[in-house]
């Protein structure tokens, strides 16, 4: 077994630990919340920022609660080594930067300027950042579907910037969010079906099998 084989094994273990669909649900809900909040503002139903926060708070609660109460009891807990932690830091930094730029652009186009002004520079910046961060994440995590999500995010923000009609510009965002949410929901349902709560003797639950 070569060192590369051990790296492949580590990558498989890592994918196994995070391929439960909740991250997809989170990304899908993020896009949906952005699209719906912009749509509600376009329809004169209040501030998009308030809508966005109102929609995202339950999503964040679901995200943390599902990881703690649904995923961890079924899948167990694992900690990875320094190499994996470093690659996760790189991905988190890139995605954080992309999200900040995206939120800034979205905020400017929906809250500050009621009618979006097509501007090439932020669009190019967004394309580079979102494609770059999702591609790096897809490569380092070994998740090919993140390439697709990167394309979705690019399409969403470019159309948000370039489509001048308020009612139409949110449609790509809502559609992409719904597609990612659907993928995540199917993966999560499959995870819950394949990994029911393990039957563990009461006395061993927290100590492990031979630590009763």
């Amino acid at each position: 077994m070569k060192e590369t084989d051990l790296r492949t094994t580590e990558s498989k273990v890592f994918r196994f630990s995070i391929d439960h669909g909740v991250w997809d649900i989170y990304l899908g809900c993020l896009l949906l919340a952005m699209g719906l909040s912009a749509l509600f503002e376009d329809l004169g139903q209040g501030s998009s920022s308030a809508w966005f926060l109102g929609l995202m708070i339950p999503v964040l609660i679901f995200f943390y609660a599902s990881r703690k109460y649904l995923i961890e009891p079924r899948l167990g807990k694992v900690r990875f080594g320094a190499r994996r932690k470093n690659s996760l830091r790189v991905i988190a930094g890139l995605i954080g930067l992309a999200v900040l730029v995206g939120l800034g652009m979205w905020w400017a186009s929906t809250s500050l300027l009621n009618v979006p002004t097509p501007s090439l520079l932020p669009v190019i910046l967004w394309v580079v950042l979102s494609l770059g961060s999702f591609s790096v994440a897809a490569y380092l995590l070994g998740f090919p579907r993140l390439y697709l999500y990167g394309l979705f995010f690019v399409a969403v923000f470019t159309t948000l910037e370039l489509i001048p009609t308020p009612a139409l510009r949110t449609i790509p965002t809502i559609t992409a969010g719904a597609v990612i949410l659907l993928i995540g929901s199917l993966l999560f349902a499959r995870f819950l079906r394949n990994y029911p709560l393990p039957v563990i003797p009461d006395t061993e639950e927290t100590h492990g099998p031979h630590r009763a």
Binding site: E10, V13, L75, G76, G81, H207, G208, H210
Partner: protein
């Protein structure tokens, strides 16, 4: 039937492999623990598809050999166990891997 010299050498190589690691379930456990920092019982059970009882038995053997350490932590005020390979376990795994590679390389095509 008497063994020829190369046969004897191969038998010696095979018997020199660490019997603690040589069992398929324990080899899988050692491999998974080698590539991660630490994991709990449920995660290892999911990865290996072993039953709870089998997992306990194999991990007991690895712990008795000094290859696996059990670290107790407290989560929500309850004791909780994480498993990790000890330095002796890592050395034993590398030695086992090298020995097995030698044997496989010496097998005829």
């Amino acid at each position: 039937m008497a063994h020829t010299e190369p046969d004897r050498q191969m038998v010696q190589q095979l018997t020199s492999l660490d019997p603690i690691i040589h069992a398929p379930a324990r080899l899988a456990l050692m491999t998974y623990l080698y590539v991660v920092d630490s994991a709990d019982y449920v995660f290892l059970m999911r990865l290996t598809d072993l039953t709870w009882g089998n997992l306990a038995s194999h991990l007991n053997k690895l712990e008795e050999a000094g290859y696996v350490a059990i670290e107790k932590e407290f989560r929500n005020k309850k004791p909780y166990s994480m498993l990790r390979l000890t330095e002796a376990g890592r050395l034993a795994y590398r030695a086992y891997k090298a020995g097995l590679q030698d044997i496989l390389a010496s097998l005829p095509e």
